[in-house]
Subunit: 155 residues, 2 copies
DNA sequence: GCCGATACGACAACATGTTGTCAATTGGCG
DNA sequence: CGCCAATTGACAACATGTTGTCGTATCGGC
């Protein structure tokens, strides 16, 4: 198999796995009133070490602040977080976990560990690490390509 | 790094790479009036070997027929495909590429090959293959877990 | 040949992300 | 001090996927 074919096969598999993972994540969190996306936001806030604004959480997650804003609004409506006044910035409120939010996140984290263990059961940690490194390298090449790709496409 | 940690790191990287790939795919197709999603539909129809119905294309791609239906409607509106009567099934029309559609798909395919070569430049085909195999195995475990996961989650 | 299960297309509602736009706040610099 | 650029939150429009529901066409078994 040529390099192009091998790369294409890997890319297609990434798409499929991504879909499967999202579905699994939703299943993992559904009965707690969460989804994969909400869980991700909760995690960013829980693991930040300091209170985050919506825009800050978005930066931490690599998403746009608009997407995070809607999720935060929903999480606040469901009582997982509250928006606390920010002493440093009147408009940019801080997202703070409630006790409910903390408990829900801890519960999901436990499940996720057990789930990851089940899923990766037959895989050597070293092999997982090598695959991660390869994917990271591909993504780096992708982002490098993006930067000066627009000009080359014209040629 | 424990297996759970390694697996979690890999999963997060799959999410990130998926996002980067989608963005790159859109960039690759934009000036032809396509997107990643439309390209995928065009590819399913082009490579099927025989005419496909909307539902058939959806099965071939692992998407729902509703999602494919909308994309096909848009592709038809833009002249990339036409819906031809199906002699075997009055309601299920066949999706057929127009000359425009064929040319657009061929153009994207050329670009994709060059792009994949650039992206995977520093990677050995064997390493790509191993990563693909690992991801496939993870997805298989995931799908197996889904099946009898609902019951275990209660315990 | 009829009848019910199944497949298909259409429509609606929703989830999740994007980009674009706009006003308000903040902070730095002349 | 005052003004201008960057940041932020809000809203809208759109892209892409999902599920649910409905009506109808097709097919297989009796």
């Amino acid at each position: 198999m040529s390099r192009v074919e091998a790369a294409t096969a890997l890319i297609l598999e990434v798409f499929r796995l991504n879909g499967a993972l999202l579905a699994a994540g939703d299943g993992l969190t559904r009965d707690l009133g969460l989804t994969s996306a909400r869980w991700q936001v909760l995690g960013a806030v829980a693991l930040a070490g300091r209170p985050l604004t919506v825009a800050g959480a978005a930066r931490a997650m690599g998403l746009t602040r608009q997407a995070v804003r809607r999720l935060v609004t929903e999480l606040a409506a469901d009582g997982f977080v509250v928006l606390a006044p920010n002493p440093d910035h009147r408009r940019a409120a801080l997202v703070v976990l409630t006790e409910t939010g903390r408990r829900a996140f801890a519960a999901v984290q436990e499940r996720q560990a057990a789930w990851a263990e089940r899923i990766a059961e037959g895989c050597a940690p070293a092999a997982l690490g090598e695959a991660t490194t390869l994917l990271r390298r591909l993504r780096a090449a992708l982002e490098r390509d993006e930067e000066h790709g627009a000009a080359e496409a014209e040629s």
